[in-house]
Symmetry: C3
Subunit: 109 residues, 3 copies
């Protein structure tokens, strides 16, 4: 058993959830926030058999797409704070960030 | 140290939290959503010594129970979309879905 | 790649998020609740290269501090329920509780 943790944009979450259901892959969703843009996103927890990990990754890749977001950062990225004037910048946010972890034991009651 | 990730129904969460406190087991709760029914549920993160994992699993098993939920699915489970008429179906939701993962390092500051 | 799961007090979350950005460390935040005090806290998921784990831990240690919280427990910690009179107790809440887990595979689409 493996735990796939996938962080995706909120816009792609319904499509990914639907594609997982149709493939018979079980999942749990958590509301989350990006550390950089502080925008809402969705973290999926997907416990799946090891053999199905490639299929789950390709489901995520086809359901989620990268987008450009225009943001006005609240504070400087670097260290200069004195003459900081906030202005809009465009940031490319990827479709999905995915971590696969090993599960030692799986139970359902 | 092991990380026990347990997804339980919201109704059982207060009882499980209480039973964990009484057993002196520390935990953190996350609000979550089921991938299939889109109903709210609770994800517990429980960091515990390896020897206590069986005790924690049996605490979860006795605190959480399976229930029948009647739902009207928003869209077809399979691929036919044309003549889809939503009607209520009854789904058995288990008491708990549990993943045990290995923790390489634990710190508290 | 390692997954650092850090549970910190809400008060320290903005400072930690800022320090992570300045160090170029990526992170995702989840709203969470303590199992004991039922107070809100923040769970950070930080995927980072193994060599940077010590730096990430020390960033968390310097960004988060322990505080005393006064609470009136809703119900007895032990088993006696009959003559329970709730009265305020002071509890020391640590700066951060941190779990480091191994990541087998990391992908970004
Ligand atoms: N220090 C920095 N300097 C310049 N640009 C920066 C930056 N940190 C992030 N970005 C850019 O901003 C986008 C959104 O980041 P955010 O942290 O809000 O939202 C992130 C975060 O919630 C999560 N994430 C990405 N890498 C992560 C990691 N290693 N650990 C935990 N969460 C991660 O995935 C979301 C999307 O990440 P993605 O890389 O596609 O897209 C990122 C990246 O293109
Ligand atoms: N494709 C499908 N076709 C037919 N019936 C389906 C189905 N997917 C789920 N169900 C049924 O619906 C119940 C609720 O699923 P849901 O995804 O909302 O809520 C789930 C989900 O949040 C979590 N979960 C279960 N297995 C998981 C896994 N492998 N990975 C991540 N989360 C899981 O535990 C909750 C309860 O799961 P449980 O298995 O007891 O109960 C499930 C199961 O009986
Ligand atoms: N059974 C008990 N008897 C007496 N005192 C108790 C107790 N359980 C907790 N406490 C105290 O209350 C503080 C807040 O715990 P809470 O569970 O709300 O909030 C916790 C919880 O959300 C998380 N946490 C700590 N250890 C954990 C673990 N092993 N697994 C998962 N989450 C943990 O970190 C937060 C802060 O923990 P920290 O240890 O610094 O601080 C704890 C601890 O000092």
């Amino acid at each position: 058993m493996k735990m796939v943790i996938a962080i995706v944009q909120d816009k792609d979450s319904p499509k990914l959830a639907q594609n997982l259901i149709q493939a018979g892959v079980r999942a749990t969703k958590l509301a989350s926030t990006g550390g950089f843009l502080h925008a809402g996103n969705t973290t999926f927890l997907i416990g799946t058999d090891e053999e199905r990990v490639p299929e789950v990754l390709s489901l995520i890749r086809t359901s989620c797409r990268s987008r450009e977001q225009v943001v006005t950062p609240m504070s400087p990225m670097g260290s200069q704070v004195e003459s900081y004037v906030p202005y809009p910048v465009s940031v490319q946010v990827g479709g999905a960030t995915i971590f696969v972890l090993d599960v030692e034991r799986f139970e359902q009651y």
